[in-house]
Amino acid sequence: MRLFGAVVVQLLHVALMFAAAPLLIGLIRTAKARLLGRRGPPPWQPYRDLLRLFAKRPVIADSATPLFRAAPWVALAATAAAIALVPSFAGGMLFGRAADLLVIAGLLGLARVAQALAALDAGTAFGGLGASREMAFAAFAEPALLLSVLIFAMLVGTTNLDAIAAVFRDVPPGLRVSLGLVAIAVLAVAVAENARIPVDNPATHLELTMVHEAGLLEYSGPDLALWDFQAALKLLLWLSLIGALFVPFGMAPAGSTPLAWIGGLIAWAAKVGVLALGLAAFEVSIAKMRVFRVTEFLGAALLLALLAAVFLFVSTGLA
């Protein structure tokens, strides 16, 4: 019975993630437009865009290799596999025991490498710009992320996301300085990983923002739709991840009833909604920074995570 529940939760979770990802992008766009005093498109516009793109015939550069068509599939598969591991409304999913934070980071790395290679494939300057910068930013984001994982591994004794969320939900750790610092670090990493302002601007793809979108410039039709969907899934993944790590409250525990799932669903929607609105407000209130300032942005995240680790060592050493 418990296994059956786990299977159902897992399937519902994946279906929910796939269905909700474009809506999240639409919501953020609408919120940003409203904050800027525009009316903006309706929140369901991304679904229309995806359907339109899926129906089009792709145009591919002469110089492209078979890797060009395969890359969006690899990236989407990796992102979807990662999001299947991040709990949303209920813990104890079928793959919960495999939801290792390092594995999730590895899967996101696979998607990133696929995208960088695809960007280089057509042999254009824009693609190269995007690929080289994307990989360079990752070099600064990964250490901050690993140190954050180190903090959780010290507090909970495992790097399994499901276990961390369950422990924090049942035994709230209280206000810890380390967790606060780590939260800031993870938020900064999430902003960089999802190519949001101030690291990159998702709304344009020209001179000012030559990172994520520049890599996708050669894509059209269904392939582009796959990439857009992948980006939406990745954003939803990060928001769910932050929710599961720092505010796991309201999430239905493992083996709970469908009634508890509904409560968990409302809590998850509220968490992601607040984070999305926060992201929209943050994006309209700040300007994109120069490419080489991103180092300082992510370097600050790294230092905060390091500081959090030192605080934790000192406090556990004293206790």
């Binding site: 793959f95 590895g106 899967l107 790395g109 280089l120 057509a122 690993l146 495992t158 490419v291």
Partner: protein, 670 residues
């Protein structure tokens, strides 16, 4: 089993003699391939049998003890690495004969090199180990010098010989210090009387310098990016994938086994510091170098750094009596050693294939090979993804275990150690991400994009044996990535012997776990998930699939159609090796003293303006160049001696003699 292995070593060594006379590359390589494959099977069988230490005393060697051969699970594990690499390299070379005038220069040392590596691993006494180690250095030096007419090759050979000399000069005194009473160099005797106090410290320091310089630990890694690429590609593969591992074996054998079970915790410090430094420096240099094989050699420095960190952690855990975690760290190191053996052999063979098919080793003369060399591309892509530690391939499995053992390190409890480990963790993550960037750059510039030269545009796929070797290694990368559990079970006897703990209980067919009962990493499940997502989405989209694709010129916001004289467009209008490196070079400029110089012509001058990016390895700047200055200074000073008159020379000789006699007299008095 030991007899079989000893016979294989003897046969490999004996092969050098007919190789001189025969000069038939195919025959020699076929013979080494068969012998290595036999060795591979024997080592694998030995590991599966999980036997204890077996030794064999031979009637020759040192007059008072003879020569002792021995195998135990640790040496079997490293034999596996050497023979995997050796088999693949030999098969690759089957259909790639060297030029006739060089045949002897390559074919003679090649089997000796393989035999010497295996002999080092089979050694049961200090003398045999040193013999194998030095023979390995000498044979590989001869292979580095395979093109003596090339000044780069000569420079690499000279530096390599110097570093090999340093390694020998450090390891010989190590065994002098380790020797049991009565100058007994047999490992059993050394184990019975491990060194203590100052002698143990000296053993540790000299081993880290001696074996570390051979393995490529910073700051003694500078020879590696010069020497490894200078050899023929299949030899480069062996040097990078197998020889560095033999050096690590010597390090493990001395520090974990011969120096006794009571190493203090600070012994881990040099390994952690040098390992983290090598990892970051190697990965960063791999992003800056412009030659495919140099990039790969730098990536080896990075991986050796990762393994050294794992070994350092294992020492620290063992010193604080945490057997299970020590086993985790040591298993991570040993597993990554094997995985890196697969990856780096495949990458170097791929670089050889690229050089053969695309006509160059220089990244900026390649490009667009993926369409013309599909086999090579597939192999290099798998190995590069593995080296970038992407799940579910084998590079990720080892690095996952390594990071898990780093995350367990705060349990040691010393505040200074905890903070150091947090820094090491950050550096490792940086190195892993930099390695991924380097692999993207390597694949993206060499294989993808548009051809940068006519030669690259007319590239051809390599011969069938070479393809077979690469395919075999690629399968190895995937299988080792999907099934790390059985491999961990195979290496458990080694960890049990060295740190008195094992993680076989946590390593199943499906999942590997950092501790008993903990959640873990399930590579097969990840693979299944990836496939399921692809199939699921394709099924969802089955109605939407539009008919066919349209091919056209690249868009790039308005790319002009290529002119007739440049069928692939201007090759310079895409990203190359230098431009891919630019963000990281600028962001991490202080680490490699990178700067950019704009050289503007004055008004009226007709030369073009130049923008030059300069960087240098800190090990050269802060260690080797000052040392060379010191050497030159010493040589200048010593030059005075040549101007001495006969009287002064005689007086000097006499004074030296008196001084030496005085020292001996004082020594006797003590």
């Amino acid at each position: 089993m030991l007899t079989v292995l000893a016979l294989i070593v003897a046969a490999l060594a004996a092969l050098a003699v007919p190789a001189v006379a025969l000069r038939r590359a195919g025959l020699v390589h076929a013979a080494t391939a068969v012998l290595c494959a036999l060795g591979l099977l024997t080592a694998l069988a030995g590991l599966i049998a999980g036997g204890d230490r077996v030794s064999l005393a031979l009637p020759f060697g040192l007059p008072w003890t003879g020569m002792v051969l021995a195998v135990d699970p640790l040496s079997l594990w490293f034999l596996l690495i050497v023979f995997v690499s050796g088999t693949a390299a030999s098969v690759y070379a089957l259909d790639d004969p060297p030029a006739p005038e060089r045949a002897g220069a390559i074919l003679t040392p090649y089997p000796v090199f393989l035999a010497a590596m295996a002999l080092t691993l089979l050694a049961g006494d200090g003398f045999t180990l040193l013999l194998g180690f030095e023979l390995m250095s000498l044979a590989s030096w001869a292979l580095v010098l395979a093109r003596p007419e090339d000044p780069e090759s000569r420079r690499a050979g000279a530096l390599y010989l110097g570093m090999a000399g340093l390694g020998g000069a450090c390891l010989i005194p190590v065994f002098g210090l380790l020797a049991a009473p009565g100058v007994d160099l047999r490992f059993d005797a050394i184990r019975a009387a491990p060194p203590e106090g100052l002698a143990a410290m000296a053993v540790m320091a000299l081993t880290v310098i001696g074996a570390g310089s051979k393995a490529g630990l910073a700051p003694l890694h500078v020879w590696l990016p010069l020497a490894h690429p200078a050899a023929p590609s299949h030899v480069s593969a062996l040097m990078s994938a197998a020889m560095t591992k033999v050096a690590l074996y010597v390090l493990i054998r001395i520090l974990f086994d011969l120096a006794g079970p009571t190493a203090p915790i600070w012994w881990s410090a040099p390994l952690l510091v040098l390992g983290a430094a090598s990892a970051v420096l190697g990965a960063l240099r791999a992003n800056l170098e412009t030659d495919t094989k140099v990039v790969l050699a730098c990536s080896t420095v990075e991986n050796i750094g990762l393994i050294a960190v794992a070994l350092g952690l294992a020492l620290a855990f063992r010193a604080t009596d945490q057997g299970p975690v020590a086993a985790l760290a040591l298993s991570a190191g040993l597993l990554h050693a094997l995985n890196h053996g697969f990856i780096k052999t495949l990458l170097f063979l791929g670089a050889g294939a690229i050089q053969h098919g695309g006509g160059s080793r220089v990244l900026d003369r390649l490009g667009g090979l993926a369409n013309r060399m599909p086999w090579t591309t597939a192999g290099v892509l798998i190995a590069a993804a593995s080296a970038a530690s992407l799940p579910p391939l084998n590079g990720f499995a080892g690095e996952w275990l390594l990071l898990q053992s780093v995350l367990a390190a705060p349990r040691v409890g010393l505040l200074a150690f905890q903070i150091a480990v947090a820094l090491v963790a950050a550096l490792l993550a940086l190195a892993v991400a930099l390695a991924a960037a380097a692999m993207v750059r390597l694949v993206g510039v060499a294989l993808l994009g548009r051809p940068r030269t006519p030669r690259a545009a007319g590239a051809m796929e390599v011969s069938r044996p070479a393809r077979l070797a690469m395919a075999g290694l690629a399968v190895g990368c995937v299988v080792a990535g999907l099934l790390p559990g059985p491999l961990l079970v195979l290496l458990e006897p080694a960890t049990r012997m060295l740190v008195n703990g094992g993680i076989a209980a946590n390593a199943g067919w499906l999942v590997i776990r950092p501790g008993i009962g903990q959640p873990g990493y399930a590579p097969l499940l990840m693979m299944a998930l990836l496939l399921a997502v692809c199939v699921g989405i394709a099924w969802l989209l089955r109605r939407h699939a539009p008919a066919g694709v349209l091919r056209g010129p690249a868009w790039a916001c308005g790319f002009i159609a290529p002119p007739p004289h440049l069928p692939f467009g201007d090759p310079a209008s895409q990203y190359g090796a230098g431009s891919m490196a630019q963000p990281l070079r600028r962001m991490l400029a202080p680490a490699v003293a990178a700067r950019e110089v704009v050289d503007m012509p004055r008004p009226g001058e007709t030369r073009p303006a130049r923008h030059v990016a300069i960087w240098s390895d800190p090990a050269w700047t802060y260690l080797f160049i000052p040392l060379m200055r010191l050497r030159d200074l010493g040589a200048d000073r010593a030059d005075i001696l040549r101007g001495f008159t006969i009287r002064r020379t005689l007086a000097l000789v006499f004074a030296t003699l008196v001084l030496l006699l005085a020292i001996i007299a004082l020594w006797e008095q003590r």
